[in-house]
């Protein structure tokens, strides 16, 4: 029993050390990118992403923030944008679909790489999954917007 506990404690501290090596530089880099408005420039650069899904250009920032920083940040930006009224309900729905499948891609990929996963296959599959489902739904919503029950969203904010 003592051996098992010893194994568990040393093992868990090792994993935390490994994760710390990644998390600290990551947080510092992301913070600098945020503070120096690199993010705004990057979102201008990635406008084609929103166009690809037939969304307005205002959807680029929530898409990018969610994909890089995580779903909580992405959701924050989406809610902010919808308050300001420059993102349609259809676009909000599509950005949400993309983000539930693919978010915090840097962080999520690196932690699995730290335990031995192939990062290229991992990130590639996840982005592919998100692109396929978002593209499918973007085609479907154009055909019949009312079917997806996105009308109720208006009241929540």
């Amino acid at each position: 029993m003592i051996n098992v506990l010893k194994e568990a404690i040393t093992g868990s501290f090792e994993s935390i050390f490994l994760i710390s090596i990644i998390v600290f530089p990551l947080m510092v880099i992301l913070q600098i990118a945020k503070d120096y408005k690199f993010l705004d420039r990057i979102s201008n650069f990635f406008r084609f992403l929103a166009r690809f899904f037939g969304m307005s250009e205002d959807s680029t920032l929530p898409l990018l923030v969610g994909t890089t920083f995580g779903i909580v940040y992405g959701a924050g930006v989406i809610i902010q944008s919808s308050k300001e009224g420059n993102i349609s309900q259809r676009d909000m729905f599509l950005v949400s679909v993309f983000l539930i499948v693919c978010h915090a891609i840097i962080e999520d990929t690196l932690i699995f790489v730290a335990v031995g996963a192939n990062g290229y296959i991992l990130a590639g599959s996840r982005i592919l999954a998100a692109v396929v489902i978002t593209l499918l739904l973007s085609k479907r919503i154009r055909a019949g917007q009312k079917q997806l029950g996105i009308r109720t969203e208006e009241k929540r904010f």
Binding site: S12, V115, I121
Partner: protein, 141 residues
């Protein structure tokens, strides 16, 4: 300004590590202890036929369960405590990265007006589809 960003980054890093430690350490201990009890054998038996679809050993089911209920970091802890090949870890990572932290993240998604059932079906469905594809393709290589 420059230093402020670095300071905030380090602070966020510390917060993240602390948050992670709180989940990873207990889960890691739980998984290691489970590894030395018959419980892992029962879960293995229960999920073995299902895991074969993804070309994974039956015990990998624990990683999927932990990842979906708790979070990716806990799943990483569980992966670390097991003996798995690179291909198996990659398949598991893809499945978990698509579908994880269902309790917490579905709560966030709900705030965007997204239906909970739709979110769960999308995530779990895509995780299964990509798990099958990557698991099968990985076996061929």
């Amino acid at each position: 300004m420059w230093l402020d960003s670095v300071k905030t980054g380090i602070k966020k890093g510390l917060e993240t590590i602390w948050l992670l430690s709180k989940t990873i350490v207990p889960v890691y201990i739980l998984v290691t202890v489970l590894n030395h009890t018959p419980v892992i054998g029962w879960i293995t038996a229960l999920f073995k036929p299902l895991m074969r679809v993804f070309n994974l050993p039956g015990e990998a089911a624990i990683v999927l369960v932990i990842g979906n209920i708790l979070d990716t970091y806990s799943a990483v802890g569980a992966i670390k405590a097991m003996q798995l090949t690179v291909k198996e870890i990659t398949t598991l990572s893809i499945m978990i990265s698509i579908s994880h932290s269902l309790l917490v993240e579905t709560a966030v998604i709900k705030k965007l007006g997204f239906k909970v059932s739709h979110a769960l079906i999308t995530r779990i469905g895509l995780a299964i589809i990509f798990g099958i594809i990557v698991g099968r393709v990985g076996a061929l290589i």
